[in-house]
Every structure is written in C-alpha cells, then in structure tokens.
C-alpha cells in the first residue's frame, strides 16, 4: 500500500482527541484525552461554564498536573527557574495559571475551536509534567551555581572553593566565603540526588566544620542544603545544627540572604 497526503488524511481524521467523557460532581464535563503523562496516565481536561460569565467556557486541568508533579515531590512554585519554565510554557501556548490549575477560557462564539484548545492545554500539561526531567538531572554543581547566583545578587564580596587551615594539619575546603558588613561567612553546601549519599555527605560536612571549629570566633559557619528534594535526614540536619547554622535553599533564601549580609 502506498501512502500519500490524501490517504494519510483518511487515516488520521478518525482519531479521537477524547477517549472518554463523564460528568463530575461540580457539573463539569471530564474528558480523558488521548495525551498521556510520562507514567502512562491519560491527561484529563474539564469543561464547564465560567460561573460569573455564562457567555464563556473554561477548559481546565483542575490542578491535576500540579498533583502529578507533587507525587514526584516536585513543587513547581519553589524556584525562580521552575516558575520561569511554567511561565514560558503558559505564554507560548496561551494558557492561564490560577493557583495549581492551568486553563483556557473559550468564548461561547468560539466553542467550535474547542479541539484546538484541548490540544493546546494538553500540550501544556505534558510539558509541565516534564519538569521532572529538570529535577532528575539536577546535579550538585547546579545547586552550587544557583546558590552563587543568590550570593552574587547580595552584592557582597565572595570567594569560591576557599581553603581554611584545619586543626589536624590539613586545610579544609569550603564552597564559599562571603564578606558581610560585620561578619565573614563560610558556606558548605549539601546537595545530592541519592538518598544513600545524603547521609555520608552530611557526615563529611560535619567533619569539615569540626576540623575548623577553632575558627568559629572569626566566622559564621553556614550549612546550606538543597530543599528541592526531601532527601536529608532530620537527625543529620540537627547534628549539623550543633556546629553550624543550617539553612534550606531555595526554600529559605530570604533568611539566608539576611544572614549573609550581617
């Protein structure tokens, strides 16, 4: 059989965008589209009248894509980078974000364009769900770069990869030294994607602080751990808290900025 543009169209024109439809409790129509999240679940979209404007329809994912990401412990609102990705996708596909929900408003007189809106919103949901890729390939070096961006934004003088003399005859490597108004800060970062490594990495950072503990009168010791994934044990962070001040980044970046500027 040969394939040309005419018989290609006859093949694809019968393809359904919506595999299944039912009505949910709030009266909206729920459509299981033909698009799938990366784990194989079909993307649902919901169609209903805008409550305040009966002349408009709203097509929404009702927050299901955000819920998909939360299942992977990814909070799309936590970092500047993620918010930028979400904003770029929304802008490119003309999709609105409202809290955890993504939607497209369709005026009554344009409801014939619903199929195009379904494709656009499904495409957006699929691309949001790919935020998981930025999480999984996020390396400790990227974390340090993001932290450096924060340090740089404070306009304080700083150095990277600083060596501080330790009490057992060996220099101890620190990720950053930052010169605040009255206090100099030493920073050790904690970031990994491997839970088994998280514990040993925490122990190594503890050892480094211990080795330079006699320097504490002259420095502020700051441990900054990656809050993009919930990987560090509470007891490890508590132990580090006994030899340094512990900050989560980017979750508590404002507190960290204030501490650096001290």
């Amino acid at each position: 059989m040969t394939m040309d543009c005419n018989n290609l169209q006859s093949f694809v024109k019968g393809f359904a965008l919506v595999r299944h439809c039912d009505e949910i409790r709030n009266g909206m129509l729920r459509m299981a589209t033909s698009f799938q999240y990366p784990n194989g679940s079909y993307i649902d979209l919901f169609l209903g009248r805008k409550p305040d404007l009966l002349s408009e329809w709203v097509l929404t994912d009702l927050g299901q894509t955000t819920a998909y990401l939360l299942d992977l412990s990814i909070k799309p609102w936590t970092t500047k980078r993620r918010k930028q990705i979400v904003s770029d996708i929304c802008q490119g596909l003309e999709v609105e974000q409202d809290g955890g929900e993504f939607k497209i408003v369709v005026p009554n007189d344009q409801i014939v364009n619903l199929p195009q809106a379904i494709v656009r919103l499904s495409q957006a949901c699929l691309r949001f769900s790919d935020l998981v890729l930025t999480q999984q390939f996020r390396m400790p070096t990227v974390f340090r770069e993001e932290l450096e961006e924060l340090v740089e934004s404070t306009s304080l003088k700083y150095e990277t990869a600083v060596l501080i003399p330790g009490q057992y005859g060996k220099d101890v490597s620190m990720d950053f030294q930052v010169y605040g108004r009255n206090v100099k800060s030493l920073i050790q970062t904690l970031s990994t994607v491997n839970s088994a490594a998280a514990h040993s990495l925490s122990n190594e950072v503890f050892r480094r602080w211990y080795d330079i503990s006699f320097q504490r009168p002259w420095y502020q010791f700051l441990t900054v751990y990656d809050t993009n994934n919930d990987i560090f044990r509470d007891d490890d962070l508590a132990r580090l808290g006994s030899v340094s001040t512990v900050f989560g980044f980017p979750a508590h970046q404002e507190d960290l900025s204030l501490a650096l500027a001290a």
Partner: protein, 145 residues
Amino acid sequence: MTRQDFEKLRDLPNKEITSDIAFEKKKETTPNLVFDQVPLDNSLGVDIVLNGTYKPAIPSVTFNFVLRGVGPICRLCVNGTFHKNIGRTHKHELVRDDDPRLNLPIAIAQPDLDGKSMKEIWATLCRQANIIHTGKFIDPEGAVA
C-alpha cells in the same frame, strides 16, 4: 529499592502513622487540598513519607508513599486519571528498580474502592498495607474520624 525490598516493606506488620492526616488548602495547589511529609514509622528504618491530594470538584483522592530521596514507591488513586486500560481507581506499585523515577508506570485496578467514603478508603488502605494509624483522619468531605 528492588521489588523484593518493596514487598518486604509492604508486608511488614505494625507500620505506624502517628500524625494526623489533614488535607489543607494552599494557594499553589488550588482548587485541590494536600498534605505531605507524614512519616511512616517502620521497624526496618526505611525513610518513607506519605503525601496526598484531595480534589473536591471531582471528587478524587490520592495517597502517595515516597521513599525520601528516591521517589514514589506506592500510590492509591481513587477516581483519578485513567491509567492505561485499567480505569480510574487503581494502585501503583514499584515493580522495577527505576519505577520511582518514572512515577510508577505499573498499576493494578482496585474497583472495590469506587464510591467509598474518604474515611472508608483510608481505613482500607491502612488495613491492606499493615499500617496502624494512631492520629486523626480529618475527613476532607467534612466528617472527622
């Protein structure tokens, strides 16, 4: 985590959740309510937390067990998205080592939970997973268990 490790944890008796389960409204997750980081105590010392999402407009609920630092290892979805050809109510489980990274692509149907109240769903989950819940389950539909 391997399938064998998962089964050992799943079948382990007397796992315990001492915290309350309370779905909360957050502006970043509206219109849905969520909870997260509820520890699952277990004698193997495996670092597991539970999170959940309740979608009142549908209604639909998800309970998701996460091995911290690795990803989800088990998830119960009731009236959620269609998964492949097994319907909207199902349980995802870790089968292959890299399933957490792929957000648990393998699931089995659990139609017995369709139409059940949130409280009944939670009680069934605890019973089937050998979990003792000593905190309160705050029913997102209104009642407090």
